[in-house]
Amino acid sequence: MRRAWLGGMGLALATTCSACGGGGAQGHFASFSTNWEDDGGVSIARVWQRVGGATIAPAADVVIGVGGHTDKLVGMRLDGGGRWTFAHPIDARPVVAGEVVVGSGGGEVFALEAKTGSVLWRRPTGGIPLLGAGDDGTVTVVSFRKAGAAGSVLLAVTHDGQVVQQLETDRPLGAPAVLGRLAFVPWSGQYVSVIDLASGDEAARVTLREQTSRAWTQGGALWFGEVGYIRFDEHIRDASKGKATTVTLPARELPGSPKLMPSGSKPLAPVADAEDKVHIYARPRGADSGATIEDDRWYATYFRIAMGFGAGKGKLAWVHMGATDYVGGAAAEGGLVLCDEQGKVVQLDAKTGGTLSEADLGEPVKACVVNVDGQRLTGAPADAKPLAQQLSEVVTSDDPQLVIAQKLLLRELASAEDDVATKALVDLARDPRTSPDLLGDARAALANRRNGATYMEAALARHYDFLKDVLRPPPVGPIAQALGAMKEKGAAALLASHLFDPADTDDDVKQAAAALAIVAGPEQLASLRQFFGMYRASAPNDDVAAAVVSVGQALVQLQDPGGASAVTGAAKDPTTVPYARERLEAIVASLPPTPSPPEPKKK
């Protein structure tokens, strides 16, 4: 580690740093050195004793958008306060730290009051990209990635613009936090070094057993993490043994494989990309016994879809669909705050996914940073709906970009008990706009439904009709499978009508006939006989021939003398298509022998 002037890198940061000598003060060691030996948590325990009892003020509850052509920031308070705009070139994603917004661009780094957008300080940087920042109310610590080389720069500036420390290292630093004039700096993915801002020395270090590149304060606690959350508490001394207070999210399949947090060691571009739109949000909460996930909810976005999950097993709790892609957000106490690319900010209820409030940054944004700390989301959600209905709306949405999420949500829908789920599957399977990627899944799910017969029957009532612009027949096959399995005799007439619809697929006819073998009643005898005669010798393929067999079976089961006779005759008739004849022979063979007529009594 070198205490360096940013000016030494050809930059023009002036510093008042006076403690720029080497390390070696008692209990201190070379910052970010790799020959450090694990001290078993002694040094970090000392830090905990020093600052663990400190009160951490809540950070600003704000939304910051990168607007224009990445040449301005737009800020808005979540408590209903006004908006502000700060015109400045932006070359990296801004960071909210405490009550400060830190941004970079135009060759300088600057700090603004988060609530007003007023400039606190600005320093030239020569254009090195901003990584992260922390703030304790008096000092802001900012980390940068070195331009064109491995390594990082750490800069500590008081709110009045005085540089108190400026460190340069070859190590990849992450996003820092500040507490009690100590900077907590994650680096190399596994360490957090505590830098004493008074001396610039590393006062402590802790080795973490989870990928860690970020430190931040939230909910009155200090947290480290990237793939999970590690709390800075009395257990931090055992972190190297994997016994720190840790909370992680359950593993589950999510569309687009989103991340909980981006790496704090890599600069984030000023314009949101797919990783911002496909994202996980959660908020850790400190508890007496360790840490939990706030509200037992965590969230994921996939473009304009937001999803809420149970913290325990990751069970889907709700789905919400916005108008445009979400580009930023944050989990809060009571829900989720999301910001979309049109600059709309929505607060969603943790329990239901219903909308608690909506606000507007006033213009479209290239990227958006949401920070919620002290504010609790409250109110009655405006559009709370049952999960099946929410899923239904999302999976039937005609948006090719959402197909991957829709496939996953379709599986959720398929397991929902609600009849509405059946309706959604029916709608999806018969809508000509449904993506081919979804159609197969929807049909398969529909075939496995065991409720919602009313919706299925309503679908069967519609047939292909050129003049009425009904150009896609209903999903007869899957519906027939479901109705057959449910033994839904009320659907027999509708199923029979589909035996004669040339617009239905051969498989549809096959499945309809198979269902009729289960549910047909005497009222269907005429249709069954008609179909049997029509196709027994002219079935164009095995599917239709199989339908002939099923219909023959139905005729026999219904003990229709005419039908049974037709089946017996067809089983012997060489003009009957071979596929059907072989199987009809088997049916006839299984029939009980016809009782012989009683012999006349001899007188």
């Binding site: 004669f500 040339p502 008609q530 029509m534 196709y535 027994r536 010798a537 067809a570 009957t576």
Partner: protein
Amino acid sequence: MQARSLVAAACAAAAIIAAAGASEAKPKPPVADAPRAIPLPADAIKRLRSGDLDQIKSALDDVRTSARAGAPAAPAVAELLAHGLSPVLTQAAIDTLADTEAEAGSEALSVYAHHRNVELRRAAVQALTRTRGAPAVRALRAALSDPDPAVRGLAATGLGNMRAKDAVSDLFVALDHKVAEAAASIGQLCAGSECERLAGKLGSVPFDVVTSGLDQVLFRPATDVSDDVKVKIVGRVRELGTGEANRFLRTVQDKWPKAWSARVKQSIDQGVLATSGSPGSGGTP
């Protein structure tokens, strides 16, 4: 068979015009150039019910040859269709019912108008236009919505030939769905305002399609379509002021029977004159 029925339809149309030309008020019945009927062989029906494929085939041939005289065999042919035949024999049975022109065959044909084999479906729809009756009209109206364009076209033509006036509204929907054959049928069937509605399609539906129907309207007798309607139709065509309008009116002018309405004739003449300078009109009359 298809060619045969189309020729028959064309002859019928020509006969209507010829008859109307002779006397607009009382058109004479068309003089059919019908071949002498060959009696149905006495054993034909027995052979149809024999269950023997060769006998069935020969009997179907005999019934077809007997044409209308084969009508008594229609129920037996319908029974065969209900029992089920190979595709080839099914086609033969359908064609046979068509040739008998027996309404008794319409119910069986209606079922086959929904067959999955599109060739059989087309044959059944064509046959229905000859066997006629309420079941045939029902089946043809349904066939306007068939997935196969040829079936839709045949159904539209059939409804016109069958004088199924109740189907005019369906035919307008079909015309709006690009079933071009519907125009001529509407022209055969429309009442006054319906005929004007057909003329109103000029500009939104291809000219040739609409005029295939307007031609039918103009040559229907005055007892069927009033002169007022015909004059309005001529006026609508004239308003187009195009070469194709001129050519159409000239064709009508050439065919217009001398004994028919002078008022309509005058409007046609004026229409021809007014459109004669249009590009592509082919010069002054």
